[in-house]
């Protein structure tokens, strides 16, 4: 018996609990070391704790500053707005796309292939593409100029580096609509045709079918996907950095810039912002899990 065989044979005879723990331990170690320790350290450092540095003082100062800082308030508002608008737009466009693509004949494969291809594109590339499309010297501004709608770059509305966050939203919607579309398409392909046939034989109109059968079936998986989109939109750094403006910036940009500040006293506040992002998204994880649990109970 070779060495690995001996190990495997040994684990076979182990009690059930030990076996489960052994199987889980590498993954739990990774999550524990990076994720749990990261959260704990973030919270500790937001209270002023500094590992490897003597003479730190624990205090609530960072949170007090956070509360009074108008930049953080503006940032929270921008982050929430961008995440909410992007998520809802991507969800409704994704569902629309899925419903339309499903009815396609031969070109269905091509259309869903287009969606899938978009999924693999890194957000950084998306940010550059949106910049080249929407900026005041971009393709759209050139088109409106050629059509005689705008006189020059300045008369084209500022869609990137704007106050509202249109550019950031555009990138998220462009990237996440295919994601939610693919999820909706997959949900639609699971035996829904038969159910619709039943509904039709029972005399349901097209609208009734959509309202009472198709959309309720889509709700759970699309909502689960939307929560992921929301968390991503609220927590990603590079897209709002490239397409937004320095003030107000989204929470992740504020946290990262504060952390990289050469002034170490800015760190607790940066950590407090990071904790805020974590708490915000942790709430979302809970919502996600509740949804998934309900989803797995209600299998059709």
């Amino acid at each position: 018996m070779s060495a690995p065989q001996a190990i495997v044979a040994m684990t076979r005879r182990l009690p059930r609990w030990t076996r489960i723990l052994l199987l889980l331990s590498p993954a739990l170690l990774v999550v524990g070391v990076f994720f749990v320790a990261g959260v704990v350290q973030g919270v500790a450092q937001s209270f002023g704790y500094q590992p490897f540095l003597p003479g730190y003082q624990l205090s609530f100062d960072a949170y007090r500053q956070l509360w009074t800082d108008p930049a953080v308030r503006a940032s929270l508002l921008l982050t929430a707005r961008v995440a909410v608008v992007s998520t809802f737009s991507a969800a409704s466009l994704g569902v629309t796309a899925a419903l339309l693509i499903r009815r396609l004949g031969r070109s269905r494969g091509l259309a869903s292939g287009l969606l899938q291809a978009n999924l693999a594109v890194p957000h950084l590339v998306g940010a550059l593409a949106i910049l080249l499309l929407l900026s005041q010297g971009g393709l759209l501004a050139r088109l409106t100029h050629a059509a005689g709608l705008t006189a020059g770059p300045a008369s084209f509305p500022a869609l990137t580096a704007d106050r509202f966050g249109w550019g950031i939203i555009a990138e998220y919607v462009w990237k996440e609509t295919p994601f939610l579309g693919v999820i909706a398409l997959a949900a639609l392909s699971r035996g829904i045709d038969d159910l619709e046939k039943v509904a039709r034989t029972l005399g349901a109109s097209r609208w009734q079918q959509l309202r009472h059968l198709t959309l309720p079936l889509l709700a759970a998986p699309v909502a689960a996907g939307s929560i992921l989109v929301f968390a991503f939109a609220a927590g990603s750094y590079e897209v709002p950095y490239l397409l937004g403006r320095p003030y107000p910036a989204t929470l992740p940009v504020v946290a990262f810039q504060g952390y990289r500040n050469t002034d170490l006293t800015a760190r607790p506040e940066a950590m407090a912002v990071a904790v805020l992002i974590t708490v915000l998204t942790a709430t979302i994880v809970t919502a996600y899990l509740t949804l998934v649990t309900r989803l797995s109970r209600r299998t059709i």
Binding site: V8, G38, T96, L139, T278, T281
Partner: protein, 263 residues
Amino acid sequence: MRRGVLLALITGLLLPWIPLLIWAVSRQWRYPALLPQQYSGRGLRLLADPHTQILHGLLTSTVIAVTVAGLACLIGFPAGRAIGLYRFRGRRIVQFFLLAPVIVPGLAVTLGIQVFFIRYGLSDRITGVILVQLMPTVPYAATMLGGAFANYDIEYERQARMLGAGPVRVLLTVTIPLLRPAIALAALFAFLISWSEYVLTLLVGGGQVQTLPLLLFSAIGSPDTNAAAALALLVIGPPLLLVGLAARTLSNRSSATIGLARL
């Protein structure tokens, strides 16, 4: 009406690619011209120019992404087996524990442990970048393989063992071949997550580990739009190729795409 809406959606999907493609092959494209004044292959030629370090970045990105994909599957496989095959108390908590890093933004979590990477000599190095990228990829691989193990029939293993196969042989000739599509997809997504990762690489790599996303980020900030657009085309090459190869398996597994929200 239907066709019109669908056409509008597809146009919206494809429109951003047009300026990117044009910028990649143009030399001069001043506002308000609709088409470039001059075309040139300079942007694309810069990709192979040793001064731009792009080829080196391509190598760094590939090494990191392949290693991360391999490790994520290696660590995620046993965890997936435990979640998918066993019903034990606390299973839900473990699942929750494994899902949290998929959803909570990596940046917010990594800021707190960055000093430890410096302290233990892992920052500014490929090793540190690979380790930090395990955080978003391992939970994902474990969850996905857990889903595959849940639909896996353990009877095949029992029969192989009854016929006299040893545990290693069962693993290599029964378990892995049966789960190959799921393993391939988990590896693919771990690769894609790693390939697109920017902020964790910057935080731990300290700008010393120059992956393609880092080079692209600084190219976007530079005035040379041609170079940035050409580099963007290089960055999307491998992901598009891999997703194209996996297209068939992908369309049969909806749950798998959940992980792509992280990209």
